[in-house]
Point group: C2
Chain length 337, copies 2
């Protein structure tokens, strides 16, 4: 049985981009599971850009405290159990953060059906395409976006896990689907592998607003936004009447003391725009059905996903910092055990 | 029979606030009505802040051309008619702009039931509280806002025609209703006459965001916005989860070459906000029913309205410019005949 837990805690609050000294790796003794408790050994943990806001004290969201474990999703295996609902060997997932082990009383813990993970459906999907990023795409695009056949859907961070999934679902719904990504390689992936109709490399265009106009000659009906700021404004400038703007993430804004925001608010009046934020937990009761449907798409080869996995818990802070350099290609995870 | 028409046309495009030289008063010969045409003599015309955007060439909206009549609503009387649907003496309303007379083929022209205008329901209401501003409040608050009893509704330009009507409807729906206005007198009107629960004089507060927090201790569930920019951001900072932001107007932005916009877009994610623009013509088929309901409220004394009427067509440009100084108090109209 493991006797120590390794965990990354917040050492100091980052200003701007997160730096190595903002994180501290601790090794602490593991208590034995108490009544109804169980011990999980992590297999993989997730590295999430949205966590950045919670590392700042003056954030709009409830901030993580210095000394607390950095948050993230975990997929792991039960190695000790005093809980009748979970047995040793069970595959589970929960929000246990960046650590090698977790004690749980079973609340907020989901047991996975190990038999479903086969072929293209890997266990890492539980904290990726079937986890929060994939569910964000699924509910954001469909419930907030209400895509109709023939509409044009524009998606930023199109090579990222949320954008990639949203774009593939948009294609299944019969939409013309345009991505925005930050390199030639990412754009080749977005059009070649994911099947988007076109992809704009925003680093290589003189004017993004014009580039969107060129790629979306019929205008934008749905903009699925993971970036915020100037890119969001450029998309708004190309919206059709009654366009829906889904605010799923804002990676360009997370590190800023004073966010840029958007300037094009007048267009909300002239074009009856709707902009809406998404918190995927609002759809909690529909998660199972969504995962079953997406799992089916994956097995049929209709939905693909790419992961970017680094080895060893010690790589987590660097993997996190890299998210803000646009270096990740697919869902960023760390393999722990 | 009148033989000449007086009309205000766009002489040059304003930069920033509209100036007298941007408008030219023309006197032109009136043609006789042709087949199926009729001639209307204006009684009142409306002065609308939203017109400002259309005076700029590079506007997001289709711009008015130099030489064209400035747009506005008109209530008038048919003085000649070759149209079987309209008789001399009929009271009518339509979007004929800033002029003393209008020729019409009947399209887009609404006949008013003269008998309904009695007591508190004056004929000017047809282009005010029962016209576009009042309908904007009616559909914006109810359809986009979906107010629920006990919720907090915050309304900017609360003493203006749109805000005043929206606030009174919010009170009827059982909402705690807070206004924002630009003078002590306006705030006294908003709370004393209109029955809002409180009013913030934004010119006298050190920090608007804090003032809203003080006036809305339970947070803001609906923000009905007529101003945009910093005021919109201050309201967003005080929103509750699932708050609805109705973009009805943006008087602080209309004169700007580069609008300020909003910075608080991250809150859309953390608080599942929805922001939506309103174009009241989308509800065209429901106008009659809405007008009947609002007319009833007015006759019962449940809905009041204030008008700010200047005498003579020549006063129109100054009345328009004054809108951007915050000097108007109620619906701004010009009495033409």
């Amino acid at each position: 049985m493991p006797t120590t837990n390794q965990r990354w805690v917040l050492a100091s609050r980052p200003e701007g981009k997160p730096a190595p000294e903002n994180f501290r790796l601790e090794e602490v003794e593991l208590a034995d599971p108490g009544d109804h408790e169980l011990l999980i050994q992590a297999k993989y943990i997730s590295i999430d850009p949205g966590m950045r806001s919670r590392l700042s004290a003056d954030s709009y969201a409830a901030a993580l405290q210095v000394g607390e474990v950095i948050e993230g999703a975990m997929v792991g295996e039960v190695v000790q159990s005093n809980n009748e609902k979970f047995a040793v060997g069970d595959l589970v997932t929960g929000g246990f953060g960046w650590q090698s082990h977790a004690l749980s009383n079973g609340r907020g813990l989901a047991k996975l059906d190990a038999s479903m993970f086969q072929g293209p459906l890997r266990v890492t999907a539980a904290i990726g395409v079937l986890g929060i990023p994939g569910l964000t795409s699924y509910f954001g695009l469909q419930d907030l976006g209400q895509p109709k056949e023939g509409e044009t859907v524009l998606i930023s961070s199109a090579a990222g896990p949320v954008g990639a999934t949203a774009g593939q679902i948009a294609k299944m719904k019969g939409c013309r689907t345009i991505g925005i990504a930050g390199s030639k390689e990412k754009c080749a992936y977005v059009t070649g592998e994911l099947g988007f109709d076109a992809c704009i490399n925003y680093k290589e265009v003189a004017n993004l607003e014009d580039a969107i106009k060129g790629a979306c000659p019929d205008g934008v009906d749905i903009y699925f936004d993971n970036v915020g700021g100037e890119m969001l404004d450029a998309a708004i400038a190309n919206t059709n009447e009654r366009a829906r703007i889904i605010i799923s993430g804002a990676v360009s804004e997370y590190n800023k003391a004073e966010p840029r925001g958007i300037r094009n608010t007048l267009r909300f009046i002239t074009h009856r725009l709707r902009m809406e934020g998404l918190v995927v937990f609002d759809y909690f009761k529909q998660f199972r059905d969504a995962q079953a449907e997406m799992g089916g798409w994956i097995m049929q080869g209709k939905l693909i996903y790419t992961e970017d996995i680094s080895e060893g818990l010690e790589t987590a802070p660097a993997a996190f910092a890299g998210l803000f350099e646009g270096e990740n290609f697919g869902r960023r995870l760390v393999k722990v055990n």
